[in-house]
Amino acid sequence: MTNGKKLSEKSIGAVCAVVSIGAFIILWYWGTQATQLGLLIPGPFDVLKAVGTGIVGKVGRHSILAHAGYSLLRVMIGFIIGSLVGVVLGLLMGWYRIAEAIFNPLFRIIRPIPPIAWIPISIIWFGLGEDAKIFLIFLASFSNTTLNSMAGARSVDPEIVNAARMLGASERKIFTTIVLPASVPNIFAGLQVAISSSWATVLAAEMVRSSEGLGWMIVAGMNNNDMIQILSGIVMIGVVGYILAIIMRRAEDVLCRWNKSGK
């Protein structure tokens, strides 16, 4: 296939996307202008305007961007700590049977409990501040990365390991130079689920108890019967969620380049 053909496929896709999204926005606009729908939800341009004013002005005590920042900060801290612990524990559990025997049963009891279900108890234990929220995000990241890291360590080709042993490599060397790199694709799959789970968790935590953040923003909108605030919050949530997903995918592309089969 020459470049000529490929380009037209991409441009067809782009045109259809514009048509499709455009049609949706037009339908939305017409719906709110011409029918009862307008009584329930605001039109698309009102929402966009609200996002704009929210960025320059304030929603509650901060601008929209600041709210997003608060949410993101909580996610980052919890995600980094949680993933680190999860990856290390998962790799150990996948590689050393004894680690698995010790930790897996505990893990299997804790894991099915969604991080969101920890919200009430975290408030009793940590109070209404940041600690509770970061704890929850830690949980969300931890449970998702452990499982995948464990699978990653298990997926290592035993032949390679045996070859390394025969060549005299120490167990620690085998772990750092063979097991670790081989697990990276699995670890990344776990990280991607962890980041989207963390994003959902921080929003839930903020919705239940918070004074800033995007989750607070949409719940405040609900309490004030302010649909525009809710929708502009949702737009922001989507944008941030999208950016997080893209960053993760780029990181994976770079670190897992060797795993992509040429097609």
Partner: protein
């Protein structure tokens, strides 16, 4: 002696991928009941050739006629055995062999008859409830062969089906193919890069050139069967084919 019917007529077959010319104005005939072996240098577009014949690839120019009509897998009975494994992993051996008959909506009783018959011929009756995951490479090829022959195709295309098997298995499967061919009278187009295999199997041998591919020469092979690969006439024909390929 009756006139041999022309089964497949190919006129000026041309295939381009964008600007890349792969098949260049190929014209040839295949007679009813031929076992035509197609050989050529590696990478000369043999797979493209077969895929174009079956309309898997759209051709850029030319026409392909089967029984005098435009080739159309939906109306005509064609089968294709691919290079490597093409069995469906979610079906048992028996269900795999039935696959073509299922697509063509053959009545149940006849389906059962065909499946049983061809499973028996390729020696896999015992394994009918097994899954492809549990079988060896040669057994998988046998499943594909049984699947192809079960539909009693007018035209059977084979793309280096024995390429990944060891010599002993190769010989065995080649003999099985000859047996099936003689039994059913199917017209077969067999692609291979193994010249010995081509001379062993084919009653005609078509030599292709390098890209842009065209038909170099078609040789007739009238050696009596079963053929002896060490016999002087065999070796002579084999060398003749080799020379044809080497020049290009």
């Amino acid at each position: 002696m009756s006139e041999k019917k022309t089964k497949v007529k190919v006129n000026h077959l041309t295939k381009k991928f964008g600007d890349l010319l792969v098949l260049n104005d190929m014209s040839f005939d295949v007679e009813d009941g031929d076992l035509l072996c197609v050989v050529g240098p590696t990478g000369c577009g043999k797979t493209t050739f077969l895929n174009s014949l079956t309309k898997i690839y759209d051709i850029t120019d030319g026409e392909i006629l089967l029984n005098g009509e435009q080739v159309d897998p939906k109306k005509q009975n064609i089968a294709y055995i691919f290079q490597g494994d093409s069995t469906m992993p979610w079906l048992t051996v028996e269900e795999n062999v039935r696959f073509g008959l299922d697509i063509k909506k053959i009545p149940e009783a006849r389906k059962k008859e065909q499946v049983d018959k061809y499973l028996e011929i390729v020696g896999l009756s015992k394994y009918r409830k097994y899954y492809p995951k549990q079988l060896s490479a040669s057994m998988l090829q046998r499943v594909s062969i049984a699947r192809a022959f079960a539909t009693e195709p007018e035209l059977l295309l084979m793309d280096e089906p024995y390429g990944q098997l060891d010599i002993e298995l190769r010989f065995k499967l080649e003999d099985e193919l000859v047996k099936l061919w003689q039994m059913t009278g199917t017209t077969v187009l067999f692609i291979t890069h193994n010249i010995e295999e081509a001379v062993y199997l084919g009653n005609k041998i078509m030599v292709l050139t390098n890209k842009p591919t065209t038909v170099k020469k078609t040789l007739i092979n009238e050696l009596p069967r079963p053929r002896d690969i060490a016999a002087p006439e065999f070796v002579k024909l084999r060398n003749e084919v080799t020379e044809l390929i080497k020049w290009w």
